[in-house]
Amino acid sequence: MFVVTMEQRPQVLTSAAAGDADSFAILIEPLLDPAYRLAAVMLADRSSAEDAVQEASIKAWRKLRQLRGDVTSLRSWFLSIVANECRMTRRQRWWSVLKLADLPSAESAAQQSATSDLHRALLKLRPEDRLPLVLHFYLDLSLDEVARTLHVSPAAAKSRIYRAAKRLRSDLTLEEVF
């Protein structure tokens, strides 16, 4: 396990930008877990989610020089690539051949009953609508980071989060969401 302190990260980013794959791997390793969670929610399939994260990592490595800003932009930049990879995976119809559903166990089914309404409502949402909810409420991205990930303005990001949340719970007010 490689550990990089915040002070070291700019130097590691510089090394990665110079072509050092190990440095890039060190940089994105802490981002793999949020990336996987984002992909798993968008694709509703754990195996596909890991594949999407792997592909996104390769694409991010190839596009590293396109990263605008400093190392603090890395998370939203990488997550936006993961989200794009998930969209591409969903567009590829043939993928359903390989996809095996994650069947819930009896235990998890019992746990789901407590939040079943919310779970059902969430599964009815389009993956594009789940995306802002995952980013803001699950991965704890700020509005600015959500906006950067979605390539929209902060106001538009806020609007998307609120609209998606309203689809889950129609009685929510703006104050209850933010």
């Binding site: 072509g19 794959a21 190990d22 890039f24 791997a25 994105i28 390793e29 793999l32 877990d33 996987y36 969670r37 798993a40 929610v41 509703a44 754990r46 195996s47 989610a49 890991e50 594949d51 994260v53 792997q54 592909e55 990592s57 390769i58 490595w61 190839r62 590293l64 020089r65 119809r93 043939w94 993928w95 359903s96 051949v97 390989l98 996809k99 095996l100 994650d102 998890s108 746990q111 789901q112 407590a114 939040t115 919310l118 779970h119 969430l122 909810l133 995952v134 409420f137 699950y138 949340a165 889950l168 719970r169 009685d171 929510l172 104050e175 209850e176 969401v177 933010f178």
Partner: protein
């Protein structure tokens, strides 16, 4: 409903949906990155131009050959029926697992089929390798089983040893791995049976993929269409 309560409930549902990623994911990513050719840098424009010119030249040559030899027809159509919509294949229609070298029929619809994706998956009773093609199907596909995981790269002739105890060499004629494919050429899966997939040749229309297996080289292989893809299921030991 307070913001905190909403966030807590939502987090619980998301946790149920996602679970945790496999412990092998960081190693998979690291391995992929280590094997990605560095395509960044000032020469990428020249690289793209060279590939475009090469594709153009090969296309013109193949077209002229096809016109001179109109009698060349398509080969044997593959075994299992595949739904045009790409739906899951029922087990009853799949070929049986075998433990010897064999060939998979394919219909050559174009001079060179471009490998566009190589994917792996694990499904309990078998691990699956899927090779997707663009621009039609390859001419022929052979699967050669072997004990040990030593393979010879072509055309260099280097010896490489894959992870695992036994191997299968997949020889695909009439295909290339460099026109449409941009992924890893050495995939370490972390699965129980199919542990490594590595390109050992991509030269003059022949692609060879070496598979490293922990168990016996028993597999079933078949072609699916729409899109064209070769599926190899490695039977779990």
């Amino acid at each position: 409903v307070s913001n905190d309560q909403f966030k807590r409930e939502l987090g619980q549902v998301f946790d149920e949906m996602t679970g945790s990623h496999s412990a092998a994911l960081p190693d998979r990513v690291r391995s992929s990155l280590a094997n990605v050719p560095d395509q960044r840098g000032p020469f990428w424009i020249a690289g793209i131009a060279a590939v475009a010119i090469a594709v153009l030249v090969v296309g013109i040559l193949m077209e002229s050959i096809n016109r001179q030899q109109p009698s060349i027809g398509p080969g044997v159509v593959p075994s299992p029926t595949a739904s045009p919509s790409g739906s899951p294949t029922p087990n009853s229609s799949l070929p049986p697992f075998v433990c010897a070298s064999s060939g998979v029929g394919a219909t050559p619809a174009a001079p060179v089929a471009f490998v566009s994706a190589v994917r792996t998956g694990t499904h309990g009773a078998y691990d699956r390798l899927t090779v997707e093609f663009k621009n039609g199907q390859p001419t022929t596909i052979e699967l050669r089983t072997q004990s040990g995981t030593g393979f010879t790269t072509s055309p260099k002739g280097d010896q490489v040893t894959l992870a695992g105890r036994n191997g299968i060499l997949v020889v695909i004629h009439g295909a290339d791995l460099h026109t449409s494919y941009t992924g890893s050429t050495d995939i370490k899966t972390g699965y129980a049976t199919l542990v490594e997939v590595r390109q050992v040749e991509d030269f003059e229309g022949v692609v060879q993929l070496a598979l490293g297996l922990t168990g016996a080289p028993c597999y079933r292989a078949f072609m699916l269409t729409n899109p064209d893809r070769l599926v190899i299921d490695i039977q779990a030991g």
